[in-house]
Amino acid sequence: MKEERNIMNKKLQENFRNRRPFQDAVTERSSESSNKTKIKHPFWVMVGKEISDQVRSWRFIIMGVLIALTCLGSLYTALAQFSKQSGSAEDAFFFLNLFTLSDGTLPPFTVFISFLGPLLGISLGFDAINSEQNRGTLSRLLSQPIYRDYVINAKFVADLIVISSLFLTLGLLVLGSGLIALGIPPTGDELARLIFFILVSIIYVAFWLNLSILFSVVFRQAATSALSGIAIWLFFSIFYNMIVDLLAKAMAPKGMLTEGQVVEFQNFVLGLMRFNPSQLFSEATITLLMPSVRSLGALTMEQIEGALPTPLPIGQSLLMVWPQVTGLVAGSILLFGLGYYLFMRREVRSR
C-alpha cells in the first residue's frame, strides 16, 4: 500500500517536472499554436462557458418553454383565422399573417414577443456580474491572464448568441409549420421581412439584456437587480402609456382647431410614447410584417391625397423603421457602455 503510494508520488513528481520550466512551456505552446489552431482564444472559452451555463440554467429553460408555448398558441390561432379568411391566398404578403393574425382570444406572436422579450432579457442578465462577485469567482477569474472587459463582453456575447438562436429557431419553426399547414411557400420579400423581424426582436431583447447587465454591475444583490429590472419593465409595459394618456388629456388643445394643429398634437403624443422601447419595437415590427402600413403617426388629408393604398416594397418599409431600430440600438449601446464603464472602474476584492 505504502509502496504503491510512493510509486504514485514519484510518477506525479516526474509529471510535474516535465511540465517545467515555465518559459519552455510557453515557447512550446506558442509554436504549437501556430501549427495547430486547436487552442481556443480565452475570450471564446469564456463565451462557450457562459452559453453552456445559460442553456443549462432553469430560468432559461422556463423562459424558453414559456416563449415556445406562446408561439405555438399564437400560431394555432393564426392558422385558425386563415381558414376563416379563405380565398385571400392571392393577397400579397399572405404568409406574414402567420405572425400578426389573431382572432382576439390570444394576441399575435409579435405582441407576445414585445411583452415577454424584456422578461427573457432581464432573466438572462440580471445576475451576470454580481453572482460572480458573490460566489467569489470574480477575483479568481481576474487573476487569470485575461483582460477585465472579457468578463462583461463574454457574458453579453454569450447571451446574445443564446437569444439569437432561440428566436431564429422559433421564427423558422413557425415558418416551417406555416409551410406545412398552408402549402404555400413564402416569397423572397416575405422571407426577408421575416429575417428583419427576427433581427429587430433580437435587438429589442438585447436592449433589456443590457439594462439588466447594468443593474448586475450596480447592485450587489442579484434579487435587487432582478427586481429593479422587472420594475422598469412593468413601468414601461403598463404605467408609461397611462401616464402619457393622462398628460395628453391635460395638454389637449381646446376649442376650434385646424387640421394641422390636431396632427401636430397627435405627433407630439406619439413622440412621448416613443420613449417606451416596446413602442419602438411594435412600430418596427408592424411596419415590417404588414407592408400595407405606410406611415406611423397621423397625417393630414393633404399628405394622404393622391397616395395609392398599395403595400410598400421592403426597402421603403426598412427606411420607415430605421429611426425606431436606431433608437433601440442606441439605447442598448448606451446601457451597455454605462455598465462597462462602471465595471471597469470598480476595484475587485474577494467577496
Partner: protein, 252 residues
C-alpha cells in the same frame, strides 16, 4: 545570490484621504517563502492586488518577474498564481471542470488541460471527488482545489491570501507540507499572507509585518528576534506582539 523576483519600491495606495499602503519597499527572491503578517486592514491584500495589476498604485511601482504589473498585467498574471481569500468556484461544475476552465483561460489546450487537472487533483488529495460538484465541497476541499487551480498554469510565483482559514488542523498541516514540497521541487516563490503566527513560523523563510500600511519589520525570525530583544531565541509571537503592545491600538 538568488535572483529577485518581486520588487516593490515606494509603493503607495491611497483611497481618498485614507492611506491603505504607505510607501513600502520590499524585495522577494526566487524560491523564497515569504510571509505577509499583520492585522486585518493593514494593507496586505491591497499590496497583493497591486502586485497583480488588479489595482493601480497611487505612487511608486512594483516589478514582478521583471514586469511592471500596472503596465502589463496580462504578462504578470500569466506567471503568477493568486489564491484569493475565501476563493469561489462555479458551484454547478465539478472540480475537474473548474480546473480545466482555468487552464483553458491560460491557453492550455483542452485535452492537455484535463490531464494536468487530474494530476493536480491527485496531488492535492481530491482525486476521489472529481465528479462531485464544487457546490458540495467543504471549505477545506475548496481551499485545496484553489491551490490546484493556482498551480495549473505552471506559475513562477504563487500568492496565497489567507489560504488556511477554515481548514482543520490536520488539513492545514498537509496544506503547508504541500507548499514546502512545491517550493523544493520547482523553486516556486511563495507569498503567504496570514494572521496565523504559528503557521507562518512553520513555513516562511522571511516575514514582513504590516502595520497600518507600513512594513514595520522585515527579515527572518532569528534576525528579528536579535534586533528586537538582543537574543535570537524569541519566537514569532513575541516579535509580533511587540508591535502591538503599549500602542494606542490593540489588534485581536
Amino acid at each position: 545570490m538568488a535572483e529577485t523576483i518581486i520588487e516593490l519600491v515606494n509603493l503607495t495606495k491611497k483611497y481618498r484621504s485614507f492611506t491603505a499602503v504607505d510607501h513600502i519597499d520590499l524585495t522577494v527572491e526566487k524560491g523564497e517563502i515569504f510571509g505577509l503578517l499583520g492585522p486585518n486592514g493593514a494593507g496586505k491584500s491591497t499590496t497583493i492586488l497591486m502586485m497583480l495589476g488588479l489595482t493601480e498604485p497611487t505612487e511608486g511601482w512594483a516589478r514582478v518577474c521583471g514586469i511592471n504589473p500596472s503596465r502589463n498585467p496580462i504578462d504578470v498574471k500569466r506567471r503568477v498564481g493568486y489564491l484569493p481569500e475565501d476563493v469561489g468556484f462555479y458551484d454547478d461544475r465539478t472540480g475537474l471542470e473548474n480546473l480545466v476552465y482555468t487552464a483553458m483561460l491560460n491557453c492550455i489546450p483542452e485535452t492537455e488541460a484535463a490531464e494536468k487537472a487530474k494530476v493536480l487533483l491527485q496531488r492535492v488529495g481530491l482525486e476521489n471527488v472529481d465528479g462531485k460538484k464544487t457546490g458540495k465541497y467543504s471549505k477545506g476541499m475548496r481551499q485545496r482545489l484553489g491551490l490546484a487551480d493556482v498551480l495549473i498554469k505552471n506559475p513562477e510565483v504563487i500568492i496565497l491570501d489567507e489560504p488556511t482559514s477554515g481548514i482543520d488542523p490536520q488539513g492545514v498541516r498537509s496544506f503547508l507540507d504541500l507548499i514546502l514540497e512545491l517550493r523544493d521541487e520547482h523553486g516556486l516563490t511563495v507569498l503567504f499572507s496570514s494572521h496565523n503566527l504559528h503557521q507562518v513560523e512553520q513555513v516562511c523563510d522571511r516575514i514582513g509585518i504590516f502595520v497600518e500600511g507600513k512594513i514595520r519589520a522585515l527579515g527572518n525570525i532569528p534576525a528579528l528576534s536579535q534586533q528586537l530583544f538582543g537574543t535570537a531565541d524569541h519566537g514569532l509571537e513575541d516579535i509580533y506582539n511587540s508591535f502591538f503592545e503599549g500602542g494606542t491600538e490593540h489588534h485581536e
